[in-house]
Every structure is written in C-alpha cells, then in structure tokens.
C-alpha cells in the first residue's frame, strides 16, 4: 500500500481527494490530508456568502464524515513545516513525522500585503479565510456602535476587491475602493468598459478612487485614514487589502524544489515538481510561468495529478488555460472571456455601449470575421454562457457579428443547441458533453429527459443546464424522425394541451374517470396536480373537491413550512390595507402566536400555524372580511401597485385602484404556473410591473401593457403588448393573453418561458389577442368571464363545510397535537428549530 500525503485542505486539495477516491484504484492508497485551517475545506469562491448567514457549514466542500467514509485521514489545524526529500518524510508543526510515497502540495496562496507603512495597524484586514471575515464582522460592528456612518476602504479594484467592496457595504459601512491603476479590474477590462462599470458601481453606492498610490496608513493604534499624497487623505476606519495573491510556496523553497523567479513551485504538464515524487496543484503551482488564481484550472490540475499518480500518463494539463471570468455577487453583471483586449493586428472589435443604462459589450472577432476571440460584457452578462461556448469551441459566428451583442435580439443569432460541437461541455457539474447526451438518445435509445439524465447524469446536480439538455434530447429525437411528444408521465400518453382539450370537450371532471378513460395505472405526483389544475382552469373547481390529487400546498390550502406547520396569507388586493384590517390581522396573529412578516409580494404573511389551527384562524380572518390569498396555488398571487396619482406627485393615473380591480378580477384563477401582476402610475415603475407576468404602466394618453416578465431564478423583463390603451381595452387584452397562456402552456411553465418557446413570440401573441388571427378571442373572452363570475373563496368554502374541516387534524385516531413541532425564539417572535 502506498501513501499519498496532501498538504493543504483548500478547494483544490479537496478536489484532489474527491477525484482520487472516485477511482477504484484508490483502494491501494493510504491518503492523509493536512490542513492548517481549523475546519475542513470550504468553498472560498463563495466566501462572501458567509456575511449573509455566518454559516460556515453551508460553505463546506464536504462534511468531516465524508473523509471518514472515504478512508481519508484528515488532520486539520496542523501545518506542515518541513519536507525531507531524501527519506520522503514530512514534519508537522507539532513535530510529528509522516512518510509518503507521493506528496501533493496544495497549499494555495495568501493575500499579498504591500509593504506600506502602517499596514500592521488595528482595523486592517485581508480577505481570504473565514477567520478573516469573522474578524471584519466583529470590527465593523464595533465601529458602527461608535459611529453609524463609519467608512471602510478596500485597497485594490480588481475582481476580489470589488467583491470585498460590496461586502463592506453590506456590513453597513460607507464603502470606498482605492485602486492604483487608472481603471477598475485592470486585468479583465478595457478603459471604456471599466468606466461603465465605475458609473454603475457609483450608482449603487460604492465610492471609487482611481490612480491612487497609498503612501501610508494613518492612526495611532487603529487605522484612521490613508494618505496618498501630501494633502490627499481619505478618512477611513477600516481597510481591507485585496492587492493580489502570493503563492504559499515556503515548503518548496525550504526543500529546494525548483521555484519561479517571483515565487510559485514550478510544475510541468503532469503537475510534477522538480522532484518526481512531489506534485504541486492549485494556486501554489507555477505552470507556464503563471499562477492561476481561479478555481477551474486548479480543479483540472487536481485531475491531472490524480491521473498521473494512478499511472494514466496520457492525461496532462492543456497548454492553454481558459481564464474567462464572470464577476459574481456584486449586483452588476461583469464578464470577460478569451482575449478581452485585442491588438488591431489580430482582429476587429465590435463594441456596443450605452452609458445611460450602464451597458457595455465588446466582442473581438478574427480578421476574417469567422471566429470569436474574446470579449467583455458589463451590465448584462446573460449571453455570457453561450458566447463563452462559441469562443471555446471556435463555432462559426453570424456574418454580421454585431448580432451577437445587440440588444432586442431574442436568441436568434445563436441558433440552437444542436449547433454546438460534440465535445462542448453542456453540464459542467457532471462534465457531460453534447455528444454524450445525443448518443444517449441515438445509440442507447433513451427518449426522455428523465432517462437521459439518469443515463448520463447530465442536469442532475445544479440543474442549470436542464433546458439545454431538454432541447438536445428533443432535437435529437426529431432528427431521428421521431415525433416528440410532450408526454405528461407514464400514466397519460398525452401532452398537457391534448389533455386540456379532452377534459374540456368531454367535460370530464373527475380524476378517476380521466384515468379510466384516457390513462393507465393509478397516477402519480406529476399527473395528479396537473389534472387538478385543468379541472380548476376549465371548470373553476376549487382545490377542496378532489383534495388528494392536489399539490401538497393546495391540499391544505396553505404552504407547508420547515417544521410541518403552515403559513396563512390573506389577500390584500393591490397591497392596500386599512388600519382596521391591520389591527384585526395583528390581533389574530397574536392570539395564535404566529410569526408575522411583510411578504415580498406586498402583503402580510403569518407563519407557524399548526394543521388543526388553520380552519380556526381562517374562520376569524373571514369574519373580519379577509379571503384566501392563494399563496399556495398555481394561480394569481398578487398585483403589486405603487401609490399612483392618488398621492404621488408624478402619477399619471390611479394605479392602486386599477391594481385592486385587476387582482379581484383574476383572483382564484388556476394556471399552468403561478402568475403575478403589477401596476405603476408612471414610467418610474415603482411597482416593478415589468418584472411580472402582466403589468400596466400609466403613460400620457393611457396604459402600456407588458407581458411575460418574472423575477425568480431567471429574471426576465416583460415585453410590450400594446401602448396607450384605455383601461377596458387593457383588461380585454390581458384577459385573452392569460386564457391563451392557460390553454397552451406546458405544466409549470411561467409566462416568460411560455412566450420564449412560443413560435412567433410576442408578435404572434399580438396577432392572436389583438388581431384575432385564430378567430378565438370571443371564446377566450367568454372563458375568462366564466372564471370571473364563478370565483369562490376556497377558505370560506372550507371553514363552512364540516367534512372539509375534518381534514385538518394531525392524527386520525387522536386529538393530540404533534409533539415534535418545535419553535425557538427569534427577535421577539418565533421560528422553526433549524434543520441539522
């Protein structure tokens, strides 16, 4: 049995272990890992998330048990101090000795602290470890106690510096970024994009100081300021240094491995150092005379080192390493890929800039106009993934390359996912290529996304690539001449739209009957709620009638929460609520000891109701004039409003009245997915109507209607359906649009995704709902009117019906409560005991 010792349990050291134990052959190795930090490896890339929740566990790459389960001996809080190459031993700071056959140095790097006078002062931090962040948090809290307007600076305006700037801003300190170069992110951005970025950052409250060389840090014990020139001083009480990294190469130096001139342990393309038994990977390794300060090359190095140690000599590091990056967290999109700056001799640049919207896009194209060489995106990086794929795979680009970056160019320029080369990595979590996905369909006979996912693992991790995998599966099936059927599940050989028509035409109102006549088996958690949604959308049946085919939340007309209790969300149409109603709600919440908050949808949510309390609470709310808010349903949620011309000095029309009217019109309507609305009194758009499935904005001369927007995981702005129409027309168009969506969308598809998939897009919707090109608007109008006329409050129905009420008990054979529900205190309210 051979021994592999890994020095450093950071991101790359961890990845090495993960890759090693994934191989059968690893059974022949004893693996020992040393980490100097007091905890197992964590995700440094997402370090800033620690500020939000201070949850170190959430950042763990793997829990301590993982190492045990995989027979890895993990020794933390113990630094390696020496390597004795002659007899293949290492010594730790506790003077313990260990022998190795292979030694892997994954010691990473540390923050570079420039030799400025006074850097040792209290209040000066670096940004690298959880301990650094804890120190900053504690110090910032102390500062703010003394001075609520305390200021903090970040030295360095690079990728990391900006992230640190956002972090100090989120800590409530006035943030300043100090950069030596005349522009931000000097390594990734050209000067124009850097200016656009600066404007954007200033607009969110960061103060930027460029071309500043810091002479000294002022202050007696603790920092009070930074001095740049004689009269050039910035008063700050805290400083975060983010001026680059230095490899932790001291072990290499002391045992005489070959080193770079400016540090770093030299490795070849096998990740071997000048001693064949010693490998170096990650931020300590100097490859191609470079230290790669990104995690992806580090992971690749880990992969190469594992392969080499296991004897797979053909696997070596690529000669060129992709340094494309996308800035995260800061609330502004910034990305650069390939060759961001380009000498005119090598190619041409296409640049789009719009400073009013803080938008800058640049792509660099080869001289013959055929290849994408690199680019920069500031303000909107939504095309980054696709552009990056085009660059990586040298895919052909449109004759007019500006199509790749011009706005209002909905997807057209890229063609389909089928244009990707076979070796393009579609699922980067599981490293699955387009070729593997397509082969799984053509060669292995998998015909659904589910089967392909099972066979290839694509889309099973973070799920971000699911839409692309789905497209690939469908397109491949089509290319085989197979009809691609959006089959609901194993129980119904129909698409949602087909089943919609069946239910409607044959007036089938009962799930069992639907199964008997058109399905097989007994159904599942996919087809049951889908059928329930159809019965609701077509017959306006409430969720009370066939309760066991409803989605979990609909079954009890409430959203289930962490500890099995529920939330209570009464409708507050348009967000308008009277003091009297507030008092009533407060009284009831108090009586049942419910946690209370204002929801993100402009209404009030009461949390922590036990199952048996739900009818009691609702009975009292209904008596006070409230009705269900259907926060649980795939149905209308809220119509958000701004105060509009009633109060606001800019308002052009009464947005609150309109929002209330429209919320009451659409309440109770069930749809393929939830839908939300917004009404703003003018284009300042305080109601965020363009972030909703439908939105109205008052303009001079009427209302503008927008459709197909949402927030959520893939935010999308709504697009214009009609301009300057009166209220009645606006309602008519939206009625038709919604019914058309309800009829034709796939299950769990929001309006934005529906619009995106709809052939002809927004122009087609206009044709259908305004020009009546299908001749169906009369029918759509009638269907909507039926829904409006037959609305019932489900909770009123439930509390009045003893049979429905009886569903709300925890046990069938006892009136006892569930003893396992636990709460803990939270800021004078309560919350569920957190999950382990």
């Amino acid at each position: 049995m051979k021994t592999v010792i890994v020095v450093g349990n950071g991101m790359v050291g961890y990845k090495f272990c993960e890759k090693l134990v994934a191989n059968e052959e690893s059974k022949d190795f004893k693996i020992i890992v040393f980490g100097e930090e007091p905890r197992p490896a964590y995700d440094r890339v997402h370090l800033s998330e620690f500020f939000a929740n201070q949850d170190a566990k959430a950042l763990e790459m793997a829990p301590a048990e993982w190492y045990i389960e995989n027979n890895i001996e993990l020794i933390i809080s113990e630094r390696i101090t020496d390597i004795h190459r002659a007899n293949k031993k290492i010594t730790t700071v506790k003077n313990r000795e260990f022998s190795y056959d292979y030694l892997v140095l994954a010691t990473g790097s540390s923050a570079f602290v420039p030799p400025i006078k006074g850097v040792e002062k209290e209040g000066v931090f670096v940004y690298r470890t959880i301990e650094d962040l804890e120190g900053m948090l504690a110090y910032a809290a102390k500062l703010k106690d003394k001075n609520p307007n305390a200021r903090a600076a970040v030295l360095g305006g690079g990728l990391l510096g900006l992230e640190a700037g956002k972090a100090v801003m989120d800590m409530g300190l006035e943030p300043h970024i100090v950069e030596f170069a005349p522009k931000l992110m000097p390594r990734q951005l050209d000067s124009r994009s850097s200016q656009v970025l600066q404007l954007k950052l200033e607009s969110i409250g960061l103060n930027i100081h460029l071309s500043k060389a810091t002479n000294q840090i002022l202050g007696a014990h603790a920092i009070t300021g930074m001095e740049f020139g004689e009269d050039d001083i910035l008063d700050v009480e805290m400083l975060v240094i983010s001026a680059g990294i230095r490899p932790r190469d001291e072990l290499g130096k002391s045992c005489d491995l070959k080193m770079g001139v400016r540090g770093g342990i030299v490795v070849d393309n096998k990740m071997q150092t000048s001693d064949k038994s010693i490998y170096a990977i990650g931020e300590v390794a100097l490859y191609n005379q470079m230290i790669y300060g990104l995690v992806a090359p580090g992971y690749e190095m880990a992969n190469v080192a594992v392969s080499q140690i296991l004897g797979k000599q053909e696997i070596v590091m690529a000669a060129e390493i992709d340094m494309s990056t996308k800035l995260k967290l800061i609330g502004v999109d910034v990305a650069s890929f390939g060759e961001p700056f380009m000498p005119a001799a090598k190619g041409h640049s296409v640049i789009f800039e719009n400073k009013t919207q803080h938008l800058y896009k640049r792509i660099n194209v080869s001289l013959d106009g055929k290849k994408l060489l690199g680019g920069i995106l500031v303000g909107d990086a939504s095309d980054y993934n696709m552009l990056h794929q085009v660059y990586l795979n040298s895919m052909p680009i449109p004759e007019d390359p500006s199509q790749l970056i011009l706005p209002a160019n909905e997807g057209g320029a890229f063609g389909s996912a089928m244009d990707l080369p076979d070796n393009a990595v579609v699922c980067s979590c599981e490293n699955v290529t387009k070729g593997q996905i397509c082969c799984s369909v053509t060669d292995d006979g998998n015909e659904t996304l589910k089967d392909v996912a099972k066979a290839t693992k694509a889309s099973t991790s973070c799920g971000g690539c699911k839409p692309m995998v789905d497209d690939l599966v469908k397109e491949t099936l089509k290319s085989l001449g197979k009809v691609v059927k959006e089959r609901i599940c194993e129980h119904f050989d129909y698409s949602r739209q087909e089943l919609y028509d069946i239910v409607k035409m044959k007036e089938i109102k009962d799930f069992d009957l639907l199964l008997d006549t058109h399905g097989t088996g007994i159904g599942c958690e996919t087809c049951k709620p889908l059928a329930a949604s159809l019965f609701a959308s077509i017959f306006n049946e409430t969720a009370n009638k066939q309760e066991t085919i409803q989605d979990s939340n609909d079954r009890y007309l409430a959203n289930i929460q962490r500890n099995g209790t529920y939330s209570v969300v009464p409708r507050v149409a348009g967000g308008e609520i009277s003091p009297k109603q507030l008092i009533a709600m407060g009284r009831i919440a108090n009586k049942y000891d419910l946690y209370t908050k204002i929801s993100g949808g402009q209404r009030i949510v009461l949390f922590g109701a036990k199952l048996h309390e739900l009818p009691l609470i609702w009975e009292e709310l209904i008596a006070e004039g409230f009705e269900t808010g259907q926060a649980y349903g795939k149905s209308l949620r809220t119509v958000k409003s701004c105060v509009g011309s009633t109060w606001c000095r800019y308002g052009l029309d009464e947005s609150v009245s309109f929002a209330i009217e429209i919320e009451n019109r659409y309440k109770g309507i069930r749809s393929p997915h939830k839908f939300k609305g917004g009404v703003s009194g003018c284009i300042r758009e305080c109601a965020e109507a363009r972030g909703k499935d439908f939105g109205f904005i008052a303009v001079e001369g009427g209302w503008n209607i927008y459709i197909g927007g949402n927030g959520g995981a893939n935010p999308k702005h709504a697009v214009l359906l009609a301009e300057k129409v009166d209220k009645e027309t606006a309602i008519k168009y939206v009625d038709r649009y919604l019914m058309f969506y309800i009829r034709t969308a796939q299950p769990l598809m929001r309006t934005a995704a529906w619009l995106d998939k709809l052939e002809g897009g927004i122009d087609y919707v206009k044709d259908v709902v305004i020009n009546d090109c299908l001749g169906i608007v009369k029918q759509l109008d009638e269907e909507m009117q039926f829904m409006v006329d037959t609305y019932k409050c489900e909770w009123t129905e439930a509390v009045e019906n003893p049979e429905i009420r009886a569903r709300y008990t925890h046990f069938v054979n006892s009136d006892e409560e569930d003893k396992n529900i636990e709460f803990v205190n939270l800021r004078e309210q309560k919350m569920p005991t957190p999950w382990a």
């Binding site: 007994i522 958690e525 085919i549």
Partner: protein, 126 residues
C-alpha cells in the same frame, strides 16, 4: 431530539406482527390519500389506495429533514411500485420496500395493514 426519532421506526414483516393495532374506521382515511395514526409514541402514515383497494403504512417521519409529514404526501405509482411523495421536497419512497426512489436517502420503515369490519389495523412487533 429528532435525530433519535429515527430509531423508533423499523420495518415490521407480516410474520413478525405481535400486535394488530385497531387504528380507525376506513372512512376516516381520504380516498387515494393518507392520514396519520398515533400508536404509543409512534406516528404512522397510512395510505388508502382506494382505486386498487389496497392499503399501506409507513413511518410518518421523512428521513430527508426529519419532519413528521409523509402522511400528508401525495400517493401514486412508479412503474407499478406504489409510492408516496413527501410534501416538503418531493422525495419519493416505495411503500412496498420503503426504498427512496429518487435519491439515496435511507429507506423508511413500512408496516403491514389489514382491514376487518371496516376498521384499519396496523401490525407492530411490540
């Protein structure tokens, strides 16, 4: 405390049943749905597959986040295997074997059910 709860539940095979616990009348259980039965300190989810006229029982505790919620889940079938989907995150479990069908969570404990005189009985070994 909830972690130790898991130890209260282990599968009972029909031939090991010592006690048939008379839980409740069959009409107390929703058609094609579930309800929760209390037996000593245990919570048992009982499911009425009325379409097939079959009954199943399992622990009410979901091993994913240790919440007492499975009886409130939706039932169905996966290629002939009867299953329940947890209402919290839709993890599905076979009601035949207790196996987690869409992940690698620990299996849940299952219990025999019999119907006599319109009453539901659950089999326990203690």
């Amino acid at each position: 405390m909830l972690d130790t709860l898991l130890q209260d539940y282990s599968t009972v095979q029909l031939e090991r049943v010592k006690v048939w616990f008379k839980a409740a009348k069959i009409n107390k259980f929703p058609k094609n749905g579930g309800a929760c039965v209390k037996y000593k300190d245990k919570q048992i989810a009982v499911f009425n597959f009325s379409r097939e006229n079959k009954w199943y029982a399992c622990q009410n505790l979901c091993p994913h986040k240790m919440e007492m919620v499975l009886s409130r889940g939706m039932i169905g079938e996966d290629m002939g295997t009867p299953k329940v989907a947890c209402p919290m995150h839709k993890k599905t479990f076979s009601l035949d074997t207790g196996e987690n069908l869409n992940g690698d969570l620990d299996s849940i404990a299952t219990y025999p059910v019999k119907i006599e005189d319109n009453f539901v009985y659950i089999g326990f070994s203690e």
